[in-house]
């Protein structure tokens, strides 16, 4: 917790203009800073961005934990099931396809909201598809493979779309794809906060069934877990969180996958009563660290946050799997 707060302060203080930690602390305790520029930067850029980072980290990590347990697979994560890609396809259709689909007016009229909507719709559609297939296919591995196929499919569709789109539209989409956590207004942040808080409270009800699910579905069922209800509820929660987050900040890779693993390593347990709060803290921490690294950048150039999460997340996962011979969820 303390580490999280310190990281938060550091994250707020760094950027193209670095602001001393002391001043950041003063700002957060509600005082007005003498340096007007610093004050403006903090209130309009750094502070909302840091809140976004925390919410995104928490949301994605929770989703990753739920998915890894549901699919009892260490490689499950929001980006693996194709949910992020679904959201991406939605955005691509809007940004690049609107020209020949005749949606331009809609895009102009709604702006940011239309991007959010199309991503949520895209994510939810992929999720529904997976849900439908999971009723047919009881095997979790098959569902994972279908998720991967859906990712490939949406990627291909996006490539096709890019052929028909203008250079400007393509660029717009590419920038969305890099991930951007600094564009959210306070209303969007508040919405994310309320959404993630409500869903987290809902998840707490499922902590016990989640533990039982780790013993296998038959075992869980024989101990009174309502299998279909539990699985569907959790999948819907994941879909909403991932869809909304992806819409707002673009596809952020590896955070959802890596954080639950780090939590298991640190706490050496599979108990969701421990892992759930752990993942919330570590998820926030991970995003703050990644963004701080992105801000420091290379030769003063800011790196896209998605690149940092992948650069950090991928080796962490590989390391974890190599370190433990019989890797266990």
């Amino acid at each position: 917790m303390l580490v999280l707060i310190i990281t938060w302060l550091i994250n707020i203080s760094i950027g193209s203009i670095s602001i001393p930690l002391k001043e950041v602390f003063k700002f957060l305790t509600g005082q007005h800073l003498e340096n007007e520029t610093w004050h403006t930067i903090l209130i309009q850029l750094r502070f909302p961005k840091s809140l976004t980072l925390i919410l995104v980290g928490v949301g994605l990590s929770i989703s990753g934990l739920l998915m890894q347990t549901l699919f009892r697979n260490v490689m499950a994560g929001p980006s693996v099931l194709g949910i992020s890609s679904g959201a991406g396809l939605g955005v691509a259709l809007l940004l690049m396809g609107s020209g020949w689909l005749g949606w331009e007016k809609m895009e102009q009229a709604f702006g940011q909201i239309s991007i959010v909507m199309s991503a949520v719709i895209g994510a939810t559609l992929v999720l529904l598809l997976i849900l439908l297939l999971s009723l047919k296919l009881k095997n979790n591995l098959s569902i994972l493979i279908i998720g991967l196929m859906l990712s490939a499919l949406t990627a291909a569709l996006i490539s096709v779309l890019s052929v028909f789109s203008t250079a400007q539209k393509l660029q717009e989409y590419l920038f969305w794809g890099f991930g951007n956590v600094s564009n959210l207004g306070f209303d969007a942040i508040l919405f994310l906060f309320v959404l993630i808080t409500l869903l987290s409270i809902w998840i707490i009800k499922f902590l016990k069934p989640l533990n039982l699910l780790l013993l296998g579905e038959n075992m869980a069922q024989s101990m009174g877990v309502r299998l279909a209800f539990t699985k569907n509820s959790l999948l819907i929660i994941v879909g909403i969180i991932v869809g909304v987050i992806t819409a707002y900040v673009g596809p952020i890779a590896f955070v959802g996958l890596a954080v639950p693993h780090i939590a298991r390593m640190l706490f050496k347990t599979s108990d969701h009563k421990v892992l759930f709060p752990a993942v919330i803290l570590l998820g926030a921490l991970m995003m703050l660290v990644c963004d701080s690294i992105a801000q420091i950048g290379i030769n003063g150039q800011v790196i896209p946050i998605n690149a940092v999460t992948s650069l950090l997340g991928a080796p962490i996962v590989i390391y974890l799997i190599f370190k433990q011979k019989n890797y266990q969820i």
Binding site: L215, G224, R226, I329
Partner: protein, 265 residues
């Protein structure tokens, strides 16, 4: 007049078990009439693939019955729920090993049917867990991870988990398959004692025919889609085991409860 104590009742009517493949019902065992109304130790015997596990899993509500109904205390059991999990506990052969739970946590899961939403263990829960570990002799393993145990040890843990669930009916699918002779005998003895001391209905599938004929109350033999249900005494009396399991090479010696080679001249 002495009043009979009321025990749990397990009944089935016209139960037919099997699989459904692409809409077609493939029955494995038909016409199963179960009527148990007192503490009983039942051993289900049968060759590999006869349908022992299918019957057990259907009774456990882990797969749907093709037709017919299962009744507990005269009430039809439809699908698994928390209430049903307070009546029936299940021990399966296969268990997920992809987790880091230790033996104590695993046995404690048996109590999760009774605990509150945050899975808090009461004093009574803890007592039941200790008791279940003592019965199965796994107290010394309590801090070990379930995934790191031997198959035999893990099997004991699973049995302990079911004992901790403390249900009137307990179903076990080949609970001694990974145990050596010595431990298998110990386990059967434990089942016998559990049924007698706690007034339970215990049904298991097994290939340990000799142990079943020595310790069970009833034996059900599944063979070619049919089920024969008899008290164990009668099975021995009529040399029924020999009818189902003998070959040209072996026969069942009921005096010593073992198969032996037929001595050729």
């Amino acid at each position: 007049m002495i009043k009979e104590p009321t025990y749990i009742q397990l009944q089935t009517k016209n139960l037919s078990v099997g699989y459904t493949t692409s809409g077609k019902k493939i029955p494995i065992v038909d016409n199963i009439h179960i009527d148990i109304h007192k503490p009983t130790f039942v051993a289900i015997l049968g060759k590999n693939g006869a349908g022992k596990s299918t019957l057990l899993r259907t009774l456990a509500q882990l797969q749907p019955a093709l037709s017919g109904t299962i009744h507990i205390n005269q009430k039809i059991v439809k699908n698994s729920s928390n209430d049903e999990a307070k009546l029936i506990s299940v021990v399966l052969t296969e268990v997920e090993k992809g987790h880091q739970f230790n033996v104590y946590e695993m046995v404690a899961f048996g109590r999760s049917v009774y605990t509150n939403w945050i899975d808090q263990l009461t004093v009574q829960d803890k007592m039941m867990i200790e008791n279940a570990m003592k019965w199965t002799g796994i107290q010394h393993l309590r801090h070990q991870k379930v995934a790191e145990l031997s198959d035999g040890q893990r099997q004991k843990v699973l049995v302990a988990r079911a004992l901790a669930q403390d249900t009137p009916i307990i179903l076990l699918d080949e609970p001694t398959v990974h145990l050596d002779v010595h431990h298998a005998m110990e386990m059967f003895h434990l089942f016998r004692k559990w049924v007698d001391e706690h007034q339970k209905i215990l049904i298991l599938t097994t290939h340990e025919i000799g142990l079943a004929t020595q310790l069970s109350d009833e034996i059900w033999i599944i063979d070619q889609g049919k089920i024969l249900q008899e008290p164990t005494v009668k099975i021995l009396e009529n040399n029924t085991i020999d009818q189902f399991f003998n070959t040209e090479l072996i026969h069942f010696n009921k005096m010593i409860h073992t198969f032996e080679y037929i001595k050729t001249k």
